[in-house]
Amino acid sequence: MSQEVNLHEQVGAMTTHEVHHDEHHGHHHKETFITKYVFSQDHKMIAKQFLITGMIWAIIGGLFSVLFRLQLGFPNETFPILEDILGKWAAGGKIQPEFYYALTTMHGTVLVFFVLTAGLSGTFANFLIPLQLGARDMASPFMNMLSYWFFFIASIVMVSSLFVQTGPASGGWTVYPPLSALGDASEGSKIGMDLWLIAMALFVVSSLLGGLNYISTILNMRTKGMSMTRMPLTIWALFFTAVLGVLSFPVLLSGFILLLFDRHAGTSFYLSDIFLASTQKALPNEGGSAILYQHLFWFLGHPEVYIIILPTMGLVSDVMSANARKPIFGYMAMVGSMFAIAVLAFLVWAHHMFVTGLNPFLGAFFVLLTLLIAVPSAIKVFNWITTLWRGNLRFTPGMLFSIGFVSLFISGGLTGIFLGNSTLDIHLHDTYFVIAHFHIVMGVSAFFGMFAGIYHWFPKMYGRYLNNTLAYIHFWITLVGAYLIFWPMHYQGLAGVPRRYLDFSGWASFNQFDGLNRFISIVTIMVFAVQLLFVFNFIYSIFKGRRVTTQNPWGATTLEWTTPINPGHGNWEGEIPEVHRWAYDYGKDGRDFVPQTEAISPNESPESKH
């Protein structure tokens, strides 16, 4: 069955097999406001829905970090305005301990899952997979729509948990039992925890529906001539991401199901003989293993960090190659290293558990496998740098963010080598060193990759450009700010400052960091303000930005730039273009670029070895 037919099956109302002879009737369907903007089955609209929902989440999650940085930077000050806004959570203008933990937990949950998983993959997988592969839409546009709406409901449930009387989940984004399993143990383990689990279960369903579609589309819906090795690296990255998600999220779900039973049915999967101080009672449970939860959680949790970083690796490769006017260096090595990362992602989860009582002998294997990830990561970094090397660089905002991504990925990746050692982990675990490492390597750098993608593909999404001046301000302050925030945390961590503490004033040895903490908090507020500037730029440019006047403003080779400036549902007006070459023919035979759709001419130099 052709893609054409498949699309009509979904887009057209009820069609039967016989009707399919009319190949083009789908373009004349009337679209109402509801079917175009709300319950849309057009992959481009769904991508925008994911992007904008993700941006709202990013503002919420970022604001949480500003609030707890206020506490960390100014532990002795009071901010009466906080009490006006937050009520009892900031009684007397001071952030209360329960609220502090709720803030950090929700900051982690929101940014890891709702922004950097759904917001990132949801946006770029939906937007770019059909456009770059030459497909009219996803394999199943309906499932794709469901994927967004499950994400939306998950968001609603998660937001609602912020407003319950006992507050949202507050046991850390990993929700380790026994704390998360015992409603009596803390305020955040009551209804907020249940809502967290429900929201996350819905989120998993959303990710799975999306992931299934991405894989199926990439493997089955490529246009004529688009062999796997001609695909842009973005698509490869999104493919590995989807595979990781589809294979690891179900395991997380099974861990959550056992947790729900421990919370409400009285089972002892994770709970053992515990005496609760708050109720002065011993629990009836016995024999449960909290480590079991950690295994199930981190079996997802580790692939999850690659689910976050892999798509940005793909985006950065494409943006960088297009703006360096050079083929990506080592295409097959890029694909191979992403494959290696995807495989290793499943084999290293226990490095999050070195100090939880894991057998040290077992730990040794996980150290080895963890350090092995340095090899494909280094290959990728090498290839990005060699792509830049002697390139004809155009410093567009997308390009700057791509270069920033590589810088951050190196800085954050190097500290991963420290943390991957189980012996060094004895000293470094649960310190600010860990915070610094993962924020730089998967938090900020993933954001940089995402920004690179947004700046580069915004013209395709909305037919307008983002404002460049605001973009450059956004880039420089974010880059410098990110380093100023997280670089000093390495030193704090090496000095032994533990994470999860809201006040160090009773700890004489850490008083030396008071000024540094204040500095970090001030920079955090500035960087957050600049992100709001970006949001302003984004919204303003949708309506008032400079119009795109040419089909291919960046002079890129890939298929999405062969569509009309504002493509309709179905993407190409006529037939789907055929692909004749790989996606990186920049600067070939003295030509600036050769689009993928151009046939190989007889006197052309041989196809690049990739």
């Binding site: 299934l212 589809v246 179900p250 999967f269 295994h295």
Partner: protein
Amino acid sequence: MRVEAMEQRKRIHPNKFTMWVAIASITMMFAGLTSAYIVKRSQPSWTSFEMPVIFWYSTAVMLASSVTIYLALNAFRERERVKYRQLITVTAVLGVLFVVLQYLGFKEIWASGISFSGAGGGQFLYIIAGLHGLHVVGGVIALIVLFFKAFSTRFRNYNPVPVEVMSTYWHFVDLLWLYLMVFFMLLQ
């Protein structure tokens, strides 16, 4: 367009492929749960349970339903509509019967004194087999949808893809149950 359509025809249909990926995903969920079972089993205070006889009947029902859906797919391909309708009806009924038998089996285990307290084989069985049951229920709902489509007088659909996807899923839940049955018997 014609050439392209033919190219596409050689490949596996995207919906069928999606089902295979979904099966891999569901498999991972049960792999997670059964490996949790193995880990937990080697720890102290593990309790065992008696496999109820009724599960043998449910296994037989599940296997029989796999045969009927296989025949239903064949009937659909040969456009024997009456036979097809009968066979998917039988399959759906067998699916419901399976779920009922599972429930009776659970009741038997519950009656033997294994409740939700603790975390032994019984508690795992409730959750793992319960989740499997939910997947069967999902399959039955899909079968009912197919059933009504087969009786719709407004549209005559000869597209075999939905039926093929359905039968793939049904064979999968069947195999999954066989795996779980063997797993529980070997590792009680």
